[in-house]
């Protein structure tokens, strides 16, 4: 088991009180596994991703632990966390377009970054990885602005994985891309995993169809909590949580036409995470809700590798 | 959003301190003159009195009451600042909005004009204009300052307008049949109201500093007492060598205090409006 997240709670401090953006999430990730993280906007995906590598100023680690390769990550401590970053945990940011210092030549920036982490730049390795993502080697002598968007994204992917981290986090890296580029990126990521550049990966997106192309396991979150986690095909084909079910059924696919089959969405809105009421957070929108839902449904492994947090499903 | 701004505003020490100082000085400048029965240039008799009970800031070589001059000077200084800053802000806004919103050749021309005035050393221009045309009233002085200080404001307003113009709600207003002027005034301007306020504050402070330089060089108003003129007189009449520190320290401190407080309040406001700058 590469990654073990146990009852992780991360809140945002705001004027009105704490936003309980991540409220007791537990899951594990095996070597070589790619976890797709999906869910409605605001459900805490980004928060989870950030929690694993770098909390921003307003985030507060309230409870729970993260263990990576047997070591407990000091996620609440920015300084202590530093040695793990890049080497053990790394990320591909959503903002690849602007992730590189605009006034440094890329090669020099990479060198300085590595030196600052007391790592030696293995130029051959770097070159071979550039070849892999089909970047010409001379990009190292260029400034970021001289690269196109796609090139920048690939460059950042190479940089982030240069030290072969155990865990790679990719948050919404494809949402601004058009379909053909999306495909290329996803394929590359898979390649990275297959070649062992990264041991395991968390791929965050709200596009379940896309996740499904890449992920071994899909985890669906709802309002700061885990709703369902199962192998990708299970989530897509036989979801157990009512939220997942409704979500999947509202996705149009090429071939589905309004005239033929009218899809429906999920009525209602997710609850506020400021002072969420106890109990299942989906119960207001859930067609199956009953009294028991006033209590928090614990995540239950209903079958192997299939965890659902729902009284009905359990 | 508004309540949030207010929440931060009342907790922002910079804003409170800055605004507090300005309000106190403004109060002195506005109300003070009513409590001083004699005109500030009247000499009340005793010369070169150090600060004391009767003359709070002492008297100068003519026996003029420096406190009276200070109080009236504050008034003029605020007036020139507000007027000069206001005029500059208005011109800056008109040029910035027009250039940013209209784009095209209007933008090209206005932008060129802005850049030209921007690289001109404005104080030198003011020297020429004032010396020739003989600006002799605080109002005219403010006008001239206003006429030369707008470019950077225009430039930044233009940039802001430019980015707001691309926002969908502007297009939506156009789709609602709203005219350009209205869109600028009702859609774009309200969105940068905090920014406009900040711009005005900076122009306000800048105008005061420029006015003090003009006053000092002998191009100040003749119909008023200002802090800059006090400095000029103190300098001209060798206050420094006669040891009359109370003649030149308070007016300079007054200017510094006003401008400094304006700047500090500006930062405070900036932090209030701009979450990125807020202290955590």
């Amino acid at each position: 088991m590469t990654l073990e997240v146990d009852d992780l709670r991360v809140y945002y401090r705001t004027l009105k009180g704490d936003v309980q953006a991540l409220d007791g999430v537990s899951f594990g990730l095996r070597d070589g596994e790619i976890l797709g993280l999906a869910g409605e906007s605001g459900c805490g995906k980004t928060t989870l991703g950030k929690a694993l590598i770098r909390l921003d100023g307003r985030m507060k680690h309230v409870g729970g632990s993260v263990t990576l390769d047997g070591q407990v990550l000091p996620i609440g401590d920015d300084v202590k966390m530093n040695p793990y970053r890049f080497k053990q945990v790394s990320l591909i940011p959503q903002y690849s377009m602007s992730a590189m210092n605009p006034t440094r030549k890329i090669g020099r920036m990479v060198r300085e970054l590595l030196e600052s982490r007391r790592e030696k730049l293995d130029l051959d390795e770097l070159h071979s990885r550039l070849d892999l993502v089909e970047l010409p080697r001379h990009v190292l002598g260029k400034y970021p602005i001289e690269l196109s968007g796609g090139m920048k994204q690939r460059m950042v992917m190479v940089i982030s994985t240069l030290l072969n981290p155990s865990l790679l986090i990719a948050d919404e890296i494809t949402s601004a891309l058009d379909v053909s580029t999306q495909k290329a990126v996803v394929t590359t990521l898979k390649g990275f995993r297959d070649r062992g550049f990264v041991k395991s990966m968390i791929f965050i997106t709200h596009d379940i169809s896309l996740t499904n192309q890449l992920a071994d396991t899909i985890m669906v979150m709802y309002a700061g909590k885990l709703a369902e986690k199962a192998p990708a095909s299970t989530v897509v084909n036989a979801p157990k949580h009512p939220y997942t079910q409704l979500l999947i059924s509202s996705l149009p696919e090429v071939g589905v036409r309004y005239a033929d089959k009218r899809l429906t969405g999920i009525p209602g809105n997710p609850p506020s995470l400021l002072k969420p009421e106890p109990g299942c957070r989906f119960r207001d929108r859930c067609p199956l809700a009953f009294e028991k839902c006033a209590e928090d449904p614990p995540p239950v492994e209903v079958e192997k590798d299939h965890v659902v947090a729902c009284w009905k499903a359990a | 959003m508004k309540t949030e701004a207010l929440y931060f505003a009342v907790r922002n020490t910079k804003l409170l301190v800055g605004a507090g100082i300005i309000l106190v000085l403004l109060g002195i400048g506005v109300i003070g003159p009513f409590f001083i029965d004699k005109p500030p240039t009247e000499y009340v008799g005793m010369q070169m009195q150090p600060p004391g009970g009767e003359y709070w800031l002492g008297t100068n070589t003519f026996g003029q009451d420096l406190w009276a001059q200070f109080v009236h000077g504050l008034r003029t200084t605020f007036l020139v600042g507000a007027l000069g800053g206001g005029i500059a802000a208005v011109i800056g806004m008109v040029v910035g909005f027009l250039a940013g919103y209209k784009g095209g050749w209007i933008d090209e021309i206005l932008n060129m004009l802005t850049n030209i005035v921007l690289v001109l050393p404005t104080l030198a221009v003011l020297f020429i204009l004032n010396a020739y045309i003989g600006v002799r009233s605080a109002g005219m002085q403010a006008l001239f300052i206003g006429l030369t200080q707008w470019p950077w404001a225009a430039r930044s307003i233009r940039a802001q307008t430019f980015s707001l113009r691309g926002r969908d709600f502007v297009d939506l207003a156009r789709l609602s049949g709203v005219g350009s002027g209205r869109i600028i005034m009702r859609e774009i301007a309200p969105n940068m109201s905090s920014y406009l306020l900040l711009t005005f504050i900076l122009l306000f402070g800048g105008s005061i500093l420029i006015a003090s330089s003009l006053d000092f060089i002998g191009l100040g108003p003749t119909d008023a007492v200002s802090l800059g003129l006090m400095l000029q007189q103190a300098h001209q009449w060798s206050a420094m060598h006669l040891g009359l520190w109370w003649w030149f320290v308070p007016p300079g401190a007054g200017i510094t205090l006003i401008v400094g407080a304006l700047y500090v309040a500006n930062v405070g406001l900036d932090e209030v409006f701009n979450p990125k700058l807020r202290e955590l």
Partner: protein, 331 residues
């Protein structure tokens, strides 16, 4: 790149053109007969001298010629370096007075601008996002930028010159000296230079520190800084990058501030009776020596434009973005 410079040069050209035109126009916009009122203003008592001046002015302005010819002539004499003759120091040519004063002004301006810029930026960068430093550097900087140049100069002259008697408070060098390349003279020169320099330096310093602090805060929050922190890069490296990038807008800021700095130098010179352009301008204003005033004005405009151009060149050299962007964005 060529376009960029072309555009800049066009703007500078137009600015200069406008300055010259304003200069030419202003005396003509004066109410009444400009020659008569200039004569009245020049405190020349002798009727004969007055007459000579009247003839001189009339010739100079060429008021009898058609206006376009007057205008063209003014350009002609400008290119010949002819700024007319000073009335205050009659019959010294204005150009002579200016060239004698300019070294003093430059000696104040160049070091104070460059040093305050360098030191101010360092200070601001140090202070940004560091509570203790921020709470000390920032308020001091605000007080400094809010200080009128002339007042700080007066305070320094008073304190160091009059009260403590450490520094001389007037002139470019002692009246007991004649210029020569001796140590004594150079030391004397330096001694006179120090206070005006220091007051210019200090006021400007505050502005740069504040500017840098604000810019670098944005840089520290920028995407690349976030990415680097996420990859565990030490703050030192991130700050170094942020500083470098924040310096760039500060270079542009330098161009924008030039006019203000020059103005500051002018009044500072006046406080210290430093024999530069500022003192010359004051004399011109007090003595209604309009030729001198106009000459000084054009000199300053020209100086500022040249400095602006230098800054533009420097900017292009240090910021790769401009170079690349201007070459036409690569694919």
């Amino acid at each position: 790149m060529r376009r960029y410079f072309g555009r800049k040069l066009l703007i500078y050209g137009l600015t200069f053109f406008m300055a010259v035109t304003v200069n030419w126009l202003v005396p003509r916009l004066m109410p009444g007969d400009p020659v008569a009122s200039m004569l009245a203003r020049a405190r020349v008592a002798q009727p004969e001298a007055q007459e000579a001046l009247r003839v001189y002015y009339n010739n100079l302005f060429g008021f009898d010629l058609p206006w376009w010819q007057q205008y063209l002539n003014s350009w002609g004499s400008l290119f010949r370096g002819d700024f007319g003759i000073s009335l205050w120091a009659f019959p010294t040519p204005v150009a002579d007075l200016l060239t004698r004063a300019v070294p003093y002004s430059l000696a104040l301006l160049i070091p104070s601008i460059l040093l305050s810029w360098v030191v101010g930026n360092r200070l601001g960068a140090l202070a940004a996002r560091r509570k203790v430093l921020d709470n000390t550097v920032l308020p001091v900087s605000y007080v400094l930028t809010a200080t009128p140049y002339l007042w700080l100069a007066a305070l320094m002259a008073w304190g160091f010159g009059v009260v403590w008697g450490i520094f001389p408070v007037a002139g470019g060098y002692s009246f007991s000296m004649t210029p020569s390349l001796t140590w004594a003279f150079l030391v004397d020169l330096f001694w006179h230079w120090l206070l005006p320099f220091a007051s210019l330096f200090l006021v400007a310093l505050g502005g740069w520190a504040i500017g840098m602090r604000n810019v670098i805060i944005y840089e520290l929050e920028s995407d690349y800084a976030n990415y680097m922190s996420a990859l565990g890069a030490p703050q030192k490296l991130i700050r170094r990058y942020a500083f470098r990038n924040a310096v760039l807008p500060q270079i542009t800021g330098l161009a924008l501030q030039l006019g203000v700095l020059v103005a500051g130098a002018l009044v500072t010179e006046i406080v210290f009776s430093y024999p530069g352009l500022g003192s010359l301008i004051l004399a011109a204003i007090q003595n209604k020596d309009f030729f001198l005033l106009q000459g000084a004005f054009l000199f300053i405009v020209l100086g500022v434009l040249i400095a602006n151009f230098i800054i533009d060149v420097v900017y292009v050299i240090v910021d790769p973005r401009t170079r690349v962007g201007m070459a036409g964005a690569a694919a």
